[in-house]
Amino acid sequence: MPTLQEKKPTRPTRRSNGRPARELIFGDLWEYDPAPETADPKLKARYELFINGGFVAPRSGQYFDSINPANEQKLAELALGGAADVDAAYQAAARAFDAGWGRMPGRERGKFLYRVARLLQDRAREFAVAETMDNGKPIKETRDFDVPMAAAHFFYHGGWADKLDYVAPGRRLAPLGVVGQVIPWNFPLLMLSWKIAPALAAGNCVVIKPATNTSITAVKLAEIFQDAGLPPGVVNVITGPGATGGILMAHPMAAKIAFTGSTEVGKVIMRSVAGSDKRMTMELGGKAANIVFDDAPIDQAVEGIVNGIFFNQGQVCCAGSRLLVHEPVAGLVVAKLKQRLRVLRVGDPLDKNTDIGAIVSRAQLETIQRYLDIGVKEGAEMWQPPCRLPARGFFMPPTIFTGVTQSHCIAREEIFGPVLSILTFRTIDEAIEKANNTAYGLSAGVWTDKGSRILKMSTELKAGVVWANTFNKFDPASPFGGYKESGFGREGGRQGLLDYGRLV
């Protein structure tokens, strides 16, 4: 019988330097044909404000255009709401609250939330297409994540509505009144649901402003509120520029304000409400560390890195934008990451095979580009996979920077784009220190086969959520929120619900 020793000389010898001996060919032998999603988004030419249960024209009489970032074409006109509209919305919300929404038995309120959830599910494909056209994110994400999760939040909080008497021992949760909410453009419909569902479940009424760039699904959801028979004024949607959001946050009738967006704007809002007795929750920026140890399952870690930073073109506050990789496996991880990025498909967001869609706006694309220039100027090494970008629209290939250190601007500031900064570490303590050495603290990821290390890291990392051997996992039952300049207050779960009421 031949033994291994005898077989050896016939095998090619290993390269001693450990570098890949060959390259894989990711060519066009089997190119996928276009597979566009064809469901009708049922867009109107013009959308009005949603105040007191009806669609009304803005006092200013002005409208602004919403464009599709994938082709720069106009999708619809949106009403430009101002101070007078915000005030009308607050008045309507206060009337609705006093008229009985706050006193309605929880089981009745819950029925409305369930109804909204079901109607959203019924129209899921339509909403997914509308969201993709408005925001630029790939249809596979809106179809498989944004819309189903939005419905899940309404279902989950519908379940809380009749259990407010049992949320804390011997006490019950009472509503606050009217809450003012401003949400960002990265998950337009989902952020809307995160904000509205718990507020309504606790018995509050809502005045909400979606982001200027991405308001279409918010006013479309207002159609669902009408269809669900939600009492007039319980939810009011004001579209308009950022300044309108400032007015909405500062309005004296708001018992509580909730904001999700950049840390910069969050600070402005907090200054504007200083001295008032408004409650606040802020969900702001992030610069999450995704930490890969040498004993991690490398292929799955690479998948998690990709999911962490390239999900929604990296326009995610909890994106794993800093990769901290253990020095012994740094070369391997980067090589495998590059391989993986070569098969990501950048292009038409409506194509079902697109992995990376369009950046939300020209301004955001320019911001990202500016950070790329800074990264290169700072001496980090930039790499992008070869890919053909569409001629029109705001597209950015997935980008990684190697040779990044803690002092690089691209390791400190939130870029909010598909840009990964790769740093290395030698020991666990170094990993923890580097991960925590940031003004932010929204999320973190740990990749290792050692369970005890996961437990240690989750205690030491100053981040609202620590994912172990996975990344970007969300659930309505799981509270989400930040440390430090990533904000305060939680959204989701019992903790998130408590932020929308008083225990009495």
């Binding site: 031949p2 077989k7 090619p12 799955q300």
Partner: protein, 329 residues
């Protein structure tokens, strides 16, 4: 420390009856080749199933799948007559001349000579034979090697052997590899496919480990294969992915290209396309050929043909337009 126990009045030291290397062999191998996270693998392969393959891409994929098929019959009731029928189907799967022959027929050793008679010497279709006491492998090595030599002498171009799972699970890795090397020698010029029988290895870590043990012995162009089709669980996108990644890592490290064959449980064209998407996105274009990727299946063929004709004509054809020659009755 005393690890002794008493069996029937005889004192036995458990540790001394197993060499220390057995205890550490798996750990050592895994720390060398890396671990696999099951949740992560299943998340990755779920994305393959969401790829939407349309029009020309679909037609290309379907025809590619036909050309990669190891048309299989492995039954006690196989006869020379069944071989004639299977081989004719393999050479000419459908009346449509545009459809390529399949890669190979896969039969028991005793059927090889009948298959060779049916196919003749000059044929594009290769003959693969399961050997080595398929599917359990629980026969003396001498017997298994004899089986391989007979199959090759009778005209088999390819041998599908089963790996010694018992030896692997007992930590006897050298034995696993020595047996593969012995079969390889018995194969001569015949291509060797090593069946891991993934369902008996159970974990993705073990599947990756055995893939490496096998690949370190194999020649360029030999295959690793998921399953025999004779146990409850067969090829899945998950174990296919773990094996593709093992092949990729081994190739990049050594330059030796190893082929892959998922077998059992792949019955629909849709499934086959998902497996091919995994190949395209993991190993790339160089593996989109029947020299490096095969499907072990039988009923898959007619579903592929049905879908090809549907793409070409825009309508599903009646089932009686497709000859039933590979199925079990």
């Amino acid at each position: 420390m005393d690890f002794g126990v008493v069996f029937g009045g005889v004192r036995v030291d458990i540790l001394s009856s197993m060499p220390l290397t057995v205890h550490t062999a798996f750990r050592r191998l895994v720390s060398e080749i890396g671990t696999v996270d099951a949740v992560g693998v299943e998340e990755r392969v779920a994305k393959y199933a969401t790829r939407s393959i349309k029009k020309r891409a679909k037609l290309f994929g379907l025809k590619l799948a036909v050309s990669m098929l190891d048309l299989t019959t492995l039954e006690g009731k196989d006869t020379p007559g069944k071989m004639t029928s299977l081989c004719r189907k393999a050479v000419r799967p459908h009346d449509d001349p545009d459809i390529p022959p399949v890669a190979a027929v896969c039969v028991y050793p005793a059927m090889v000579r009948h298959a060779r008679r049916a196919l003749g010497a000059d044929t594009p279709v290769r003959i693969a034979s399961v050997a080595t006491a398929f599917p359990s492998g629980q026969m003396p090595l001498k017997t298994r090697l004899g089986e391989v030599r007979t199959a090759v002498a009778d005209g088999a171009d390819e041998i599908d052997m089963v790996v010694n799972r018992g030896a692997f699970l007992a930590g006897e890795f050298a034995r696993v590899q020595d047996e593969i090397a012995a079969v390889l020698e018995a194969c001569g010029d015949a291509t060797l496919k090593v069946i891991l029988e993934t369902s008996e290895l159970e974990t993705y870590d073990s599947i990756r480990a055995v893939s490496f043990l096998a690949m370190r012995v194999l020649r360029p162009g030999d295959f690793i294969k998921t399953s025999t089709g004779k146990t409850s669980a067969n090829a899945t996108l998950g174990n296919n992915q773990v094996m593709l990644e093992a092949i990729r890592d081994f190739y990049l490290e050594t330059g030796t290209p190893i082929g892959m064959k998922p077998a059992g449980g792949i019955r629909t064209a849709k499934q086959a396309l998902q497996f091919l998407v995994a190949v395209k996105e993991t190993l790339g274009d160089a593996w989109l050929t029947n020299a490096r990727y095969r499907f072990g299946a039988s009923s898959l063929l007619n579903d592929l043909l049905r879908q090809i004709e549907k793409e070409k004509t825009g309508a599903y054809q009646a089932p009686y337009y497709f000859s039933e020659a590979a199925e079990s009755y």
